[in-house]
Symmetry: C2
Subunit: 479 residues, 2 copies
């Protein structure tokens, strides 16, 4: 049982604040504080703004109507008769129920998910990439995290007394560092290039690999695109370089593509690793790849329903069979999460009754996220000592901050990392909750933090205003 | 990545049968066969009877109305205004939504679950046992399996170069053997006493422990009560003996109590380990215990929705904090699974509009299960060479079968365990799918199988009739 610093931090950050009981943030905080958030000192803010986690609905985003109508019909089949729902909602509900044992979402599904939903996912991928996908290579999961962990576990065997190593970006999403520690895998960090909008440089990949090969067998490479926490969207050329690098060194590629719908910047586009790999030609036809997707991000933001999938590309059949068998010990992912996957993979089609509303809701959400991505980076760049790359995609900004030497000294006296000290102060004084860069990893001597772009526009404006005032005061205090 | 034989078998058993596409059994079978179940040779039966898995809804059990009405209202909040639901359904839905960030089930909850649901579980346990339960010691999970695995993982550290050992019953539910293998823990089997209706003998526990202590540090003891696959319900006296044994040897107790609502036999009653432990007095006040519960079994049978909980009793606070932190890497269990937990922990109360229907549905299901438990054991005991203990509880019968020497020889020629050979033949000839005893472990030289008691009464009668004819034919063939 190992606990990476990143998780420690998330917990630690929660201890200090005090909120009414029964708020879900109160729950979150209980983790470390051992209380339900009742009592405690009063704070100079009305409420905490949870910009620390990619949880769109918690920040006020409305669910997509079609998804929720389908869910209500499959959980309560009386509504198929009595309810006033569009025909395509009822048809979809009936189709999902047909795939369930006894026609109930209360039955176990196959461990890899309901077959016709896996087929819809394969069709979705084929349409996205312009290349076929096999439904047998799609495995549904309870969010992307479970699938990522299951695949990482494939590498946990030591070879010739040496641990296996997995290359992960720095900064990275802490699920990776936590899972590697859990499975006894070596964390092989490669730095993203902040000066090139957090792109991947082949030179840095080679450096990192060669250094690590002295102590472990490097066997896999994780790429998060669009990036978390860094918000970059890789160019096609960069993806080609990464695939060639992985192929040259026989590395399995983990393509964390859960933000594939979240691309905002002019000139940026999402290119799946699968598509680029196929288009690199026959030479790469044995390159192994797992691509992960979720219902928690994108425009749907259904975090609490726990749904996702992995597409396994060129995996050795015997390894895939083993992976599937291990998954079966855990029975099956939530059938309702699978149902949301179905709605996302096969949304209402033009001409169907729910189509117009679906498109409107989806477009509104993504347009608003695009505006917020732009606003947040531009605003941060007006703060003294802040430098924020363009948020090309995903749901986060990860600005670099220059802290006054006196602030660094003050942090040291409190035995805290300077960025943690800054984040605590921000939280204590404004209620804005962000995650310091130490939680994700950052180049030595640099300081960052991650904020989501998820607060709804009015709240985001308030948050940025409070942030600006805090930062001005903080900077003056330690000038 | 290790795959216990039990899982191999479950997969293997699926290969041979062929069914229409889009059936969930077809999905299940695809696992091993690599096809969707299309095509293939014709079989001498109309459909497969899935008596191999405790999946009540798949076998025709109807969901509980209150649960499904609440689920439809929380997924589609329009129904709170427009829908025609009893007031207690709407109240419950609103209460659950109040515990969700942004009032949406699409938000992440705290990793240990929504606070007010944990409080309801604590109240449920307090009422069940007559002793208080702390809500902070309740952790919600995606089915019991996740919680069991998380707790097992606490023991994975080697001490003085010796692995940790976990005592599990033989026969056992294969989740345990699979998880122990996954975490590098030693499986320390103790035999249940078939002659004493699968009870636990302290002598056998001592024998097993002493033998294992030569090779590993035995640190925990798993008890499944009511039993899976064995269907026994432990007496209070037997539970006291087990607790004393664990206490004497400083073993952490895993009480798998997921079938606590499934007690059928006259004179049998469910006693929770927690209750008995508390009533044993102060001497045992540091005895560590984890008790697991699920929404997949009982009268609700909501397997596909993935909900459950664990109550941690007397766990060291620092260990518990570590456990909770590790769980947080996986974000949270399905909020909809948590909502079902809420309905189960706090069902409609007398006088509330949904109470009468709730009680009727619950009672009807449990009464019917009781009838089927009796029918199945009595019927098996009329088969030549069958000996079936009373099914006191849970959802399974695990009869011992005497196979003719020629059948054992025929199995050997096919390189199969005799009980596997028998189960295959049964499946091929009747479509009745059971799991051979080898999947759970059994005393050397004995043969068993597990069948669920879940097929609805008419189907169960058909199944038993087909089974009887098959067995007669099989016995004659190998006489």
């Amino acid at each position: 049982m190992t606990s990476p610093y990143s998780l420690d931090y998330t917990v630690a950050l929660c201890v200090v604040i005090t909120l009414p009981a029964h708020s879900s943030w109160g729950d979150w905080c209980w983790l470390a504080s051992g209380s339900s958030g009742e009592g405690g000192a009063s704070k100079p803010f009305q409420k905490v703004i949870r910009a620390n986690i990619g949880d769109a609905h918690a920040m006020g985003q409305r669910p997509i109507t079609f998804i929720r109508q389908v869910l209500s019909c499959i959980t309560n089949t009386d509504l198929l008769e009595k309810g006033d729902f569009p025909d395509d909602v009822k048809d979809r509900a009936r189709e999902i129920l047909c795939g369930c044992g006894g026609g109930s979402v209360g039955s176990y599904s196959a461990s890899q998910g309901i077959e016709h939903i896996r087929r819809h996912v394969a069709e979705y991928i084929a349409k996205r990439d312009g290349h076929p996908a096999r439904w047998q290579d799609i495995c549904l999961s309870a969010g992307a995290s479970t699938a990522i962990k299951n695949c990482l576990q494939l590498f946990c065997k030591e070879i010739d007394g040496k641990k296996s190593g997995v290359m992960i970006p720095i900064p990275q999403y802490p699920l990776y560092s936590a899972s590697l520690a859990e499975y006894g895998l070596e964390q092989v960090g490669y730095y993203l290039d902040e000066e090139c909008n957090w792109g991947l440089s082949t030179q840095e990949l080679e450096r990192s690999l060669q250094e690590a090969q002295q102590t472990c067998n490097v066997r896999a490479l994780v790429v998060i695109n669009p990036g978390n926490p860094t918000g970059q969207v890789l160019t096609r050329e960069n993806i080609e370089q990464v695939i060639k690098f992985a192929h040259k060194h026989k590395l399995f590629i983990f393509a964390d593509e859960v933000y594939q719908d979240n691309v905002y910047a002019e000139g940026s586009a999402f290119h799946s690793f699968k598509k680029v790999l196929v288009e690199l030609g026959a030479e790469y036809s044995s390159q192994e790849l797992a691509s992960f997707m979720t219902i928690s991000k994108g425009y749907m933001g259904e975090c609490g329903l726990r749904g996702g999938w992995v597409e396994l590309v060129n995996m050795l059949p015997e390894v895939q069979a083993q992976l599937y068998k291990c998954m079966s010990a855990m029975l099956c992912p939530s059938v309702l999460g699978q149902a949301v996957v179905d709605c996302v993979a096969k949304p209402p089609a033009p001409g169907e009754p729910s189509y117009d509303l679906w498109i409107k809701e989806k477009t509104d959400i993504l347009t608003s996220l695009k505006d917020r991505a732009k606003l947040i980076a531009e605003t941060f760049n007006t703060f003294e000592g802040f430098k924020c790359n363009v948020v090309q995609g995903a749901m986060y900004a990860f600005p670099r901050i220059t802290l006054p030497p006196k602030a660094i000294q003050a942090a040291k006296e409190k035995n805290m990392a300077p960025d943690v000290f800054y984040a605590f102060r921000l939280l204590e004084e404004t209620g804005v909750c962000i995650v310091p860069g130490s939680g994700f990893g950052q180049a030595p001597g640099t300081f960052h933090f991650r904020t989501t772009i998820l607060p709804q526009p009015d709240l985001l404006n308030t948050m940025l205003e409070n942030f600006r005032n805090f930062h001005k005061k903080f900077t003056q205090e330690y000038a």
